[in-house]
């Protein structure tokens, strides 16, 4: 069997099946089309890793906030304006020179939606779900990140309704940057723990 053919077959099947499901549920008055539109638009435009980046930058620039964030993630994140589904209790994990945290959900793909949006494909992949807990350093190499052997790697398997987010280290050479500029350099992957925030290249 060609996996290509197979997937192609599946995708059009899924599209037709989704149309049928939406059509029937609308017809029976169980769902409203505009509500579905809203959900799509919300996750495409309003909720995404830029939320988490704002939280990270506030923690980098406000030591009191950082303290609150690490002690009570959910309420500190609410301060910045982010709450909602898949974020009922958020725990923030601080990366340091000695400790590197990374998050996985081996059983499905639990992820802190209010701060990071919907999970990327790699986070939902069998490869990541199976390997992150047993060979995290090898996985990080797939992402181009090679950690010093002295760094303690801490993997968080997100199996409950608690959601985990990583607070990456602030890179050197960023002292003169504005909050807006800092937000730009905090990538999604650094808040899952499979990347670090790189120092901006000096032009």
């Amino acid at each position: 069997m060609s996996t290509e053919e197979h997937h192609h077959h599946d995708e059009s099947y899924a599209e037709l099946r989704t149309k049928a499901l939406e059509s029937l549920l609308v017809e029976k008055g169980l769902i409203a089309s505009n509500a579905i539109d809203d959900v799509v638009r919300t996750y495409e435009q309003d909720i995404g890793p830029m939320n988490g980046a704002k939280v990270v930058v506030k923690a980098w620039t406000d030591p009191e906030y950082k303290k609150r964030l690490l002690e009570e993630g959910t309420s500190a994140i609410e301060e910045v304006g982010f709450t909602g589904a898949q974020g009922a209790q958020i725990v923030v994990l601080e990366n340091t020179d000695d400790i590197h945290n990374m998050v996985v959900c081996t059983l499905c793909s639990c992820y802190p939606w209010p701060v990071l949006g919907l999970p990327p494909s790699w986070y939902k992949s069998e490869a990541y779900r199976s390997r992150a807990v047993v060979e995290p350093r090898a996985v990080l190499k797939d992402f181009g990140l090679e950690l010093d052997p002295a760094v303690n790697v801490r993997v968080w398997d997100s199996n409950s309704e608690i959601r985990y987010m990583v607070l990456p280290q602030r890179p050197s050479g960023t002292d003169g940057m504005t909050e807006e500029e800092l937000i730009e350099i905090v990538g999604r992957d650094s808040m899952i723990g499979v990347a670090i925030v790189e120092s901006p290249t000096i032009v």
Binding site: A14, L25, I31, A35, V39, T83, A85, G87, E126, S130
Partner: protein, 225 residues
């Protein structure tokens, strides 16, 4: 259940591939599935553990051959059928209609109130803590062993943790207990802890050096070591 979804520690799935500038949804139907699922919450079929159990109950080959949203589509359909909202026959017929009419779209029903309700779910903070009066049976620093349970129903205790010894590092309060037995029965909320395991305890000589694993354990999942 000891299902295909419980893949922590499995080999053979290849490298992790990373897509640059990945869109939120790769196909528009994926977003519709997400929206339909959220819209059905109010009809009681998508309590999180029930929904996950429905996903896990796909056959192992179906599970592996499906993408994340394909699994959700199948589980949503199966859940809606189990609730009696639709039938498989209706789905097959309607799908055939869309196959033969590729330009047709699902009819629309507009309901501003429903939008409001759904947006509330999306943005609402609904704390997990349950005031049961239950006091935690374990203290920070306690050495505990994950129980060797192998239920056919739903559980959030993965196989790779069972029988392994770790240390309680945090008490998170009392949360709903996720396990669902084959008759659909659930238990009362329980204390839940963050438990730390040494990678070598989990994987023996195959473990990478200098690694810890943290996972959330409901009280029923652990016993004194």
């Amino acid at each position: 259940m000891n299902g295909i979804h419980d893949m922590g520690g499995m080999h053979g799935f290849g490298e992790v591939t990373h897509e640059e500038n990945e869109p939120v949804f790769h196909e528009s139907w994926e977003g519709r599935v997400m929206g339909i699922r959220r819209s059905l919450v109010k009809h009681g079929i998508f309590e999180p553990y029930n929904f996950r159990f429905t996903v896990e109950s796909l056959s192992p080959s179906e599970y592996l051959n499906s993408s994340y949203y394909e699994r959700h589509l199948r589980a949503t359909e199966n859940g809606a059928i189990a609730k009696g909202f639709i039938t498989r026959e209706e789905m097959d017929e309607r799908m055939e209609f869309f196959r033969q009419n590729p330009d047709a779209l699902p009819e629309r029903r507009e309901d501003p109130k429903e939008s409001e309700q759904i947006q509330k779910i999306t943005f609402m903070l609904e704390p997990l803590h349950r005031d049961t009066g239950a006091t935690p049976g374990f203290n920070i620093g306690d050495v505990v062993r994950a129980r060797n349970i192998n239920p056919q129903g739903h559980t959030r205790l993965p196989r790779y943790i069972r029988g392994k010894t770790g240390i309680v590092v945090k008490y998170y309060g009392n949360h709903d207990f996720p396990d669902i037995d084959m008759n659909g029965n659930k238990s009362e909320p329980q204390p839940i802890y963050s438990v730390q395991f040494d990678a070598e305890e989990l994987w023996g000589a195959s473990a990478e050096k200098n690694q810890l694993l943290f996972i959330d354990m409901w009280e029923g999942y652990i016993e004194p070591a």
